[in-house]
């Protein structure tokens, strides 16, 4: 009972120090939602600096807005380079931004690929139902850029709100194919991923920036992410190394 009380007290003390704040023990990490599995894998290891960090995942756009509003963040890993550049321009960067990983686009198809989809051109087949992400959300923008660069004209039946929604439609068999991030296709056994060379035409970079607001152990965290262990987990989760 006493032990529980002590733990509770510790929790209250930590909480009242605020995430980050002046407390040098915990560092707040903001990361794009697609990194949730990677950072959770890292933090499951008690030795990892991430085990002692407070992590928050959301879309890069909303996290970036919070950093710009002065949220007490130490490390921000964004899926969008432009937001990082804007934060650097506003003086939030402790050091230069660093690319920690890359992602690419793949065609998600039903397990076993019954329709034998091999190339981007196969998506133009008239008997094929295709789902893509809506223009406006990052995945939708990347998909559109890739299709335009490849000169492939498709007629999707639906424009989904995010990568997970596209993946769901493929996994449930409602569409025959969907364009998603390679990491999302790897996250489930319900779909197979068809890799396409045209994906190289879009650069999807995850860029990390140490933030001046509440740096804490940000440097240590970034080193771990760029180090052997961090890069190994990123590879396991389907990312491409920088």
């Amino acid at each position: 009972m006493r032990r529980v009380a002590q733990l509770l007290l510790a929790a209250v003390v930590v909480a009242s120090c605020g995430p980050g704040g002046q407390d040098s023990e915990t560092t707040v990490v903001f990361a794009a939602s697609s990194l949730v599995d990677v950072l959770n894998d890292l933090s499951n290891d008690g030795e990892s600096a991430f085990a002692h960090a407070v992590m928050s995942f959301a879309s890069s756009a909303s996290l970036s807005a919070q950093v710009a509003d002065g949220a007490p963040v130490g490390l921000f890993v964004s899926a969008d380079r432009q937001q990082i550049d804007e934060l650097v321009a506003s003086g939030f960067g402790m050091s230069d931004p660093q690319v920690v990983a890359r992602n690419s686009l793949v065609i998600a198809v039903e397990t076993g690929n019954p329709l034998g989809i091999q190339t981007l051109d196969d998506l133009t087949r008239s008997d094929l139902l295709l789902a893509v992400a809506a223009p406006g959300v990052p995945l939708g923008e990347y998909s559109e850029a890739m299709l335009i660069a490849a000169g492939v004209q498709v007629s999707p039946v639906t424009f989904e709100a995010d990568a997970r929604a596209v993946l769901g439609k493929v996994a449930l068999g409602e569409v025959d194919a969907g364009i998603v991030y390679a990491t999302d296709a790897m996250s489930t056994t319900d779909v197979d991923a068809v890799h396409i060379p045209e994906a190289d035409s879009v650069a999807i970079e995850y860029v990390a920036l140490e933030i001046t607001t509440a740096p804490g152990h940000a440097n240590e965290l970034l080193s771990e992410l760029l180090g052997e262990r961090g890069q190994q987990v990123l590879l396991e989760r389907g990312f491409v190394l920088p």
């Binding site: 406006g136 959300v137 639906t158 989904e160 709100a161 068999g173 409602e174």
Partner: protein, 270 residues
């Protein structure tokens, strides 16, 4: 009316305080929305083809949904209220479950039944080549699934409350069951039917989760106003605010216009 006024005069302070907080809770977000809306670009957004397309689709599908809900929901409500059908409690629970389900779950359930790989959907595809997902009928089905219970429950309580004396008199005079229903029961409960239809329409108009899950998002076919609003949040917050305000005004106008009948049916007094 006098009894109601006496009641108001006696309202305990604590009820007034808590009740006022409840009012603020509902008014504040609407007010904040109205303040933040960039009214100057109203004309631009309304003139935007994508918005008008979504608006037209939303109004069309929600009206069709309401009509179908009345055609099937009123008979169901009558069976629940008046018949001696066995297992009525269970049937009522099942038929109104979608009201409390998370809409996305409702959408997944519809895919599991009517989707291309669904239990029934697969048969429809094999037999007549009919595929519902990603079509306008799918939008109506999604809306109907989550919104019809509002009609059923409202009309059922209307049937349960209305006196059966006139119906019995009509039967004694030789009227057929259908004549009694259409000429006596329905006119006596029309305010409940109207209230139920309005609730259903409002819920259908705002439907998002089941629609995007079951019907997807395609301009002109399945992109309704709520879906357009959600996607606009990612790209253009001003547009999202304006479309939200459009929906608020649309719903408010209808609810206020029908207020008298609404309260009459729900509150049991006029």
């Amino acid at each position: 009316m006098t009894s109601r006024q006496r009641h108001e005069a006696r309202a305990p302070l604590v009820l007034s305080i808590f009740g006022t907080f409840a009012v603020i809770f509902f008014v504040l977000p609407l007010l904040a929305l109205a303040v933040r809306v960039p009214w100057s670009s109203l004309v631009d957004v309304l003139g935007n083809e994508a918005t008008t397309e979504a608006l037209v689709l939303s109004i069309m599908t929600s009206v069709i949904t309401t009509l179908i809900a009345v055609v099937f929901g009123v008979p169901l409500a009558w069976l629940l209220a008046r018949s001696s059908m066995p297992g009525r409690q269970t049937i009522r629970a099942i038929c109104t479950l979608s009201m409390v389900l998370p809409p996305v779950v409702a959408g997944v359930a519809l895919l599991a039944s009517l989707g291309r790989r669904g239990v029934v959907g697969q048969l429809l595809d094999d037999w007549i080549g009919l595929r519902l997902p990603f079509t306008m009928p799918a939008v109506v089905i999604a809306q109907l699934f989550v919104a019809m219970p509002f009609l059923v429950l409202t009309v059922e309580s209307g049937f349960a409350r209305s006196s059966t004396a006139v119906e019995e008199a009509a039967r004694t005079l030789g009227a057929s069951p259908w004549y009694v229903f259409s000429r006596v029961t329905v006119p006596a409960t029309r305010s409940a039917i109207l209230a139920g239809a309005v609730l259903t329409w409002a819920r259908a108009l705002g439907e998002f989760g089941a629609t995007i899950t079951f019907a997807g998002n395609f301009p002109g076919a399945t992109r309704t106003l709520p879906i357009a609003t959600y996607l606009a949040l990612e790209t253009n917050v001003d547009d999202a605010l304006l479309i939200s305000m459009l929906m608020v005004i649309l719903s408010l106008v209808i609810l206020v216009a029908l207020r008298g009948r609404w309260i009459g049916a729900i509150g049991g007094e006029r």
